[in-house]
Symmetry: C2
Subunit: 255 residues, 2 copies
């Protein structure tokens, strides 16, 4: 079994950096092979832009999907992106480590998604959801929040973290992944970060041990239930007789 | 009245680029002053990283919030970030134009948020939500989606766009903005983009005209109701006797 681990944090000594190393170690101890993409360390560019392409489908206007598809067809997908797709293709499990910044992924991870989920090769209208490129693979997000679990609850002052994670997880569903329940570690304050960094006996140790324990039983972790493609009418709306598995159904925010 | 417009699209001739120019023109015709940040054209770096700081609060470990606060206190916030904060400070209205990529903001806009919402000067524990730095100002998102309105409905195959936008809008609420109902323009396909670009009479014209009409009555646009700070107990959970304005209440996804 092989896992690909993606880390989105600028500091290797951060809690997220430590959690990513726990992922490598704990899975290796159980016989897994692992690869790691430390996006900041790699200098990964989160923005698709003309500079990534030496030739162009349309040199007059830069259309992201058209260029992605053209280069996928030509076999000239940018090297940093092709390398990520290859690592994902070889793994049965993807683990993404990130701190929740502004109720979402850090930009470097959002841009990893923007670029690595390549239109034309990783997804297209006939290859998504149930027929997604990564079907048969699992993904799990390990997320840290500065605020407490209470403040991040469904009635919390910071908003519901599980709702904030929904677009992130749904993106993985879109490209075919089986999405495991995320691990969310709350209450990581900036003071804790600095004060505990050198102590050796930190609150972070409790969290890394909790994450290590989670990895021990990852094979039995429950995945999120989504509606299948057949549950939707050609219009794109849910069929009246379909079950309502997907979390977004009936949970429309009042905006 | 002054508006600041932020555009997150790599191609100026795109629909989003056109919509941003409509914002400039339509508001100018009504006597507004405007500023524009075309993030791709500016080469805005969406990643906070050590290279942005010539001095460091902690040279041994890069902690984003600590560095942001330290440099805010020293008056040495990176120039590109300080310029954005200044433009926001001078405006009564912020308009953000972006295509929905992977159910969220393009990385360049997420990173604008990660960097421009500066810890220490734009937010801190005693300055957020009701006491947020940008209180008294309004923000409106103008968002395009490739998928149809049906597929983006609350029971749509693409998931509920209004739920996907929630973390984005809630971030603006966090820093004090009055968040207007977003404008969401659905059904922008890649084929449409290319075929209509040179026709002069495109489907895009219908959309830009709709956006122009929206701007004509922006003063009366309804804003999203959020719970006030006093509605929450010290624990961070909603008080039992508080109203449930915020959309996230009782809308927990089943994840």
């Amino acid at each position: 079994m092989r896992a690909h681990i993606v880390l989105a944090h600028p500091e290797g000594q951060s809690l997220n950096g430590r959690l990513a190393r726990v992922s490598e170690q704990a899975l290796a101890e159980r016989g897994w092979a692992t690869t790691l993409s430390d996006l900041y360390a790699m200098g990964f560019d989160p923005c698709d832009r003309p500079q990534h392409y030496t030739t162009r489908a349309n040199p007059d206007a830069f259309h992201v999907q058209s260029e992605q598809r053209f280069h996928a067809e030509q076999g000239t997908t940018p090297g940093d992106v092709a390398a990520e797709v290859e690592k994902l293709s070889q793994a049965e499990l993807l683990i993404v480590h990130f701190p929740l910044w502004w109720f979402g992924m850090p930009a470097i991870l959002k841009g990893w998604m923007d670029r690595v989920f390549v239109y034309g090769s990783v997804y297209r209208s006939t290859m998504r959801y149930d027929t997604g490129f990564f079907r048969g693979k699992q993904v799990m997000a390990c997320v840290t929040t500065g605020a407490s679990a209470d403040a991040c609850a469904h009635d919390g002052h910071e908003g519901d973290t599980r709702m904030h994670l929904w677009p992130v997880l749904f993106s993985f569903r879109y490209v075919g992944f089986d999405v495991l329940q995320p691990e969310v570690l709350h209450g990581i304050g900036s003071a804790t970060y600095l004060e505990d960094r050198d102590s050796g006996l930190s609150g972070f140790d409790v969290l890394t041990q909790r994450w290590r324990a989670t990895l021990q039983s990852i094979e039995t972790r429950v995945s999120i239930a989504y509606n299948g493609d057949g549950d939707f009418a050609p219009s794109g709306r849910l069929r009246p007789d379909a079950p309502e598995y997907s979390a977004f159904i009936s949970h429309t925010p009042k905006i």
